[in-house]
Symmetry: C2
Subunit: 207 residues, 2 copies
């Protein structure tokens, strides 16, 4: 009983730490945030913070995973509530753009200094991409069942859709050496992504 309650305490503490880190990273980015600042925000000693997370990078990873899961939950919920597969694809594009923006805020790190974090994050991103593809695949299948999409290779089409949008986003951040885009660039990228999804949907509908 005591052990269980202790474990619940641990879970609650972990949750609070991740939330505090999320706020700090969201405003100052990964590089400009220190473990000391996060500990101070929580009225916690630095030593205790390190008991929960071995370093800043693993805390960052936990924050990204939290945001990924939130994004996936909202997306699934929206898709379940809306029976129209075309609108589902558009919802995905817009929701994904918002998530991209929040992620850039979380990050704000230069490409050069990101080798360590890239290696820590690699699995997280692969898993996330697979989950995204699985959701899009379900939408495409729904479109086939409703006879509104004409697709021969569902897997390939889902991967292609996710990757084409990812390619557009990457191009915007690759232009510079920092993970940050301003409002104008964000709006332009949103417009481009929406133009893309319009043509892609028509392409799927064409008989």
């Amino acid at each position: 009983m005591v052990a269980a309650s202790h474990s619940n305490d641990n879970q609650e503490k972990t949750k609070l730490i991740i939330e505090a880190a999320q706020k700090r990273f969201g405003v100052y980015g990964l590089m400009k945030t220190t473990m000391r600042e996060i500990a101070t925000d929580l009225n916690m000693s630095k030593g205790l913070l390190y008991y929960y997370f071995p370093d800043k990078e693993h805390l960052y990873k936990a924050v990204v995973e939290k945001e990924q899961n939130e994004f996936l939950e909202i997306l699934k919920d929206k898709i379940e509530k809306n029976p129209d597969p075309e609108e589902n694809l558009k919802e995905y594009v817009n929701l994904r753009m918002s998530y991209f923006k929040s992620l850039l805020n979380l990050n704000r790190l230069s490409f050069d200094s990101s080798e360590e974090i890239k290696s820590i994050m690699s699995d997280v991103w692969i898993e996330f991409r697979n989950k995204e593809i699985a959701i899009i695949k379900k939408v495409l299948k729904k479109g086939i069942d409703l006879e509104s999409f004409n697709i021969s290779k569902v897997d390939e089409s889902a991967i292609l859709f996710v990757d084409l949008l990812k390619g557009l986003r990457n191009m915007e951040i690759n232009k510079k050496r920092i993970f940050f885009i301003d409002e104008i660039e964000y709006d332009l990228l949103s417009k481009k992504s929406n133009d893309f999804v319009e043509i892609f949907i028509k392409g799927l509908k064409y008989r």
Copy 2:
């Protein structure tokens, strides 16, 4: 008369140097090729080579420009000879993939060490992208005139088409820290690009 002939000599020499550099870069890449080797290939002193090109980076730039112009000439020629705008888009995708491959061979440099060359090449790439977009725009217009494409924003669609393909290519090389892809990755990327152009064309045709 003597001056003119001297200038012709210069042009001829420049052409020979670029051709020799193209071969070296194509086999060993930019980083592993030295100006000394290129001079030796030409039975030329290193000093004389530097009279024509101030450094290896500017010689590399001249080689890339040569290949870009060759690509654009072949593309224009193919498009002029084939009246079908759909096939023109497919021709572009395949030709662009081959050019991408030759460019990777030419380069083979790691991302980290490419700041200087990136800054030298920046204008060259912007100009090339604009030329590509102009050609695709012409193809889309042809498709509209033939009433085979249904496009409201020709400029935006041309840019989107070129950028989506660029995004796919970038993603493949961004996975690693080196400008090189093997045959399997190249075939996968070709397949993806071809799948993309199929859907995109259907999207343009949809009424």
